[in-house]
């Protein structure tokens, strides 16, 4: 026998027969357990308790899927019925006794408490209440509570929160915080370049000026050359000399140039001399 499941949507007849089929399966399992004849085509129709016995039989005779369902339901029900009966464990008695005693104690306590005669408030209390005046602040607080309980609660507790002081570390961090590294590097480079230009201009001015003045005075008035003040009065005299190579430069000018180029000119010169 195959227990393979049949498709679920099989038609109206099958759906109508579904519960009768389960009842049939249950009955057959009961009969089998009781040792009576439980075969499907027994005399059964007359003894069947389900109202649709004959129509169910007719349906089963022409529907193989429902016959398979019936067989599967019988097996399933038989196994469910055969599930072992579980006995209550021995420790359950103790647990129940403890629970009931606790419950009984609680009930007794409740009964005893409810049986207590209620005290009535003494007259003196009423008199005291009548003469006592509540402080104004209590009135205000109760009023706030009544108007907006959430807001009152929040403001009351927020007011109690500790005021925090800024930590010293924050100040230290702010003091050491400058512009971002890239900006700082750029600024440094520009400043250095500007400084070099200024210094270079000054050096060139200082170096070239006396030499040109000296060249001018070589073939002229010696008195003027000695004092130099007249030449200065006439204004600076600039002579531009074209040189073909670095070697032809004046030594002072060559040193300045070497300083600007980071020693490259000297290196070239040394290399040539070695060759």
């Amino acid at each position: 026998m195959s227990l393979e499941r049949a498709p679920q949507d099989r038609g109206q007849d099958c759906n109508a027969a579904r519960f009768a089929l389960l009842q049939r399966a249950e009955r057959r399992v009961e009969e089998a357990k009781a040792g009576t004849d439980g075969s499907i085509d027994d005399s059964g129709s007359a003894q069947l308790r389900d109202a649709y016995a004959s129509s169910l039989d007719a349906h089963l005779s022409r529907c193989a899927a429902c016959r398979r369902d019936l067989a599967r339901a019988e097996v399933r029900i038989a196994f469910l019925r055969d599930l072992a009966r579980v006995e209550a464990p021995a420790e359950m008695d103790g647990a129940i006794v403890a629970a009931l005693q606790a419950g009984a104690r609680q009930s007794r306590a409740i009964r005893a408490l409810t049986a207590l005669t209620p005290f009535s408030a003494p007259d003196a209390l009423a008199r005291r209440i009548a003469v006592s005046r509540t402080p104004a602040v209590l009135d205000r607080l109760v009023g706030e509570d009544l108007v907006d309980p959430a807001k009152a609660l929040a403001s009351r507790y927020a007011g109690r929160l500790e005021r925090l002081r800024a930590p010293a570390d924050l100040e230290h961090r702010l003091g050491s915080a400058g512009p971002r590294p890239a900006t700082r590097v750029l600024t440094t480079v520009l400043l250095a370049a500007g400084l070099v230009l200024v210094l270079g201009s000054l050096v060139l001015t200082q170096v070239l000026r006396p030499r040109h003045m000296g060249t001018e005075t070589a073939g002229t008035d010696s008195a003027q050359a000695r004092s130099g003040t007249q030449a200065a009065d006439r204004g600076p005299l600039l002579i531009v000399e074209h040189v073909d190579s670095v070697r032809s430069l004046d030594p002072v000018a060559a040193d300045v140039l070497s300083g600007f180029t980071g020693g490259w000119v000297d290196a070239q010169r040394i290399a040539r001399e070695k060759l």
Partner: protein, 201 residues
């Protein structure tokens, strides 16, 4: 209307002041403890939760017994309390799930005790197969919804009639039938491969 078989005992309990597990209540407890535990075990699926749910059931019984008015069968009332306690316990346990420390050894596994009581000698292989199958059936029952689980347990484990189930769960007969039918469909889906494996080999 049929006379409730437990009426005399229940009335004896109601006539005396509650004083723990003794006297008439003890007799009532002895009569119902296995049934209650069985229902709780099959619904919760494990011994620890079943014990807790049973304890809760008897606690409620003890407290409310004085108010019972025989408007339904006493057994139906007890089953209703047990089913509700077990489902409730299962729901609470699921919301704070922790792996069970309970070891499924021979002494806690129900079928093992059934074997010990069994006079017939059972081949070890057969017994192992039966244990495995029973565990799979219990697992399939545990995967049903609580309502379906309750109806399957009352019908097939406790062998109650549809009318008794209807009274115990306080639902109509039609609801019992439709719910049982749906439970069968669900079990069919779950158990067909299992039964194929065991039944046809």
């Amino acid at each position: 209307m049929k006379v409730d078989p437990d009426r005399e005992l229940v009335e004896a309990c109601q006539a005396t002041a509650p004083s723990g597990l003794e006297g008439a209540f003890r007799r009532l407890y002895d009569q119902y403890k296995d049934r209650v535990y069985n229902v709780c075990f099959r619904i919760t699926g494990n011994a620890t939760d079943a014990l807790d749910a049973s304890q809760e059931t008897f606690g409620i019984m003890f407290r409310k017994l004085a108010d019972f008015r025989f408007e339904s069968k006493f057994s139906s009332w007890v089953y209703r309390i047990a089913v509700n306690a077990a489902i409730d316990h299962k729901r609470r346990a699921a919301s704070r799930w922790l792996p069970s420390l309970e070891v499924q050894n021979e002494s806690t596994r129900p079928s093992a005790r059934a074997d010990l009581r069994d006079d017939r000698t059972e081949a070890p292989l057969h017994a192992a197969t039966r244990h495995e199958l029973e565990a799979e059936i219990q697992s399939a029952i545990s995967r049903l919804t609580p309502k379906m689980r309750a109806i399957v347990v009352l019908r097939f484990v406790e062998n109650l009639s549809y009318e008794e189930i209807s009274e115990a769960l306080q639902i109509s007969l039609g609801t019992v039938k439709s719910r049982l039918s749906r439970a069968h469909e669900a079990l069919d889906r779950e158990l067909t491969p299992v039964l194929d494996r065991h039944y046809l080999r």
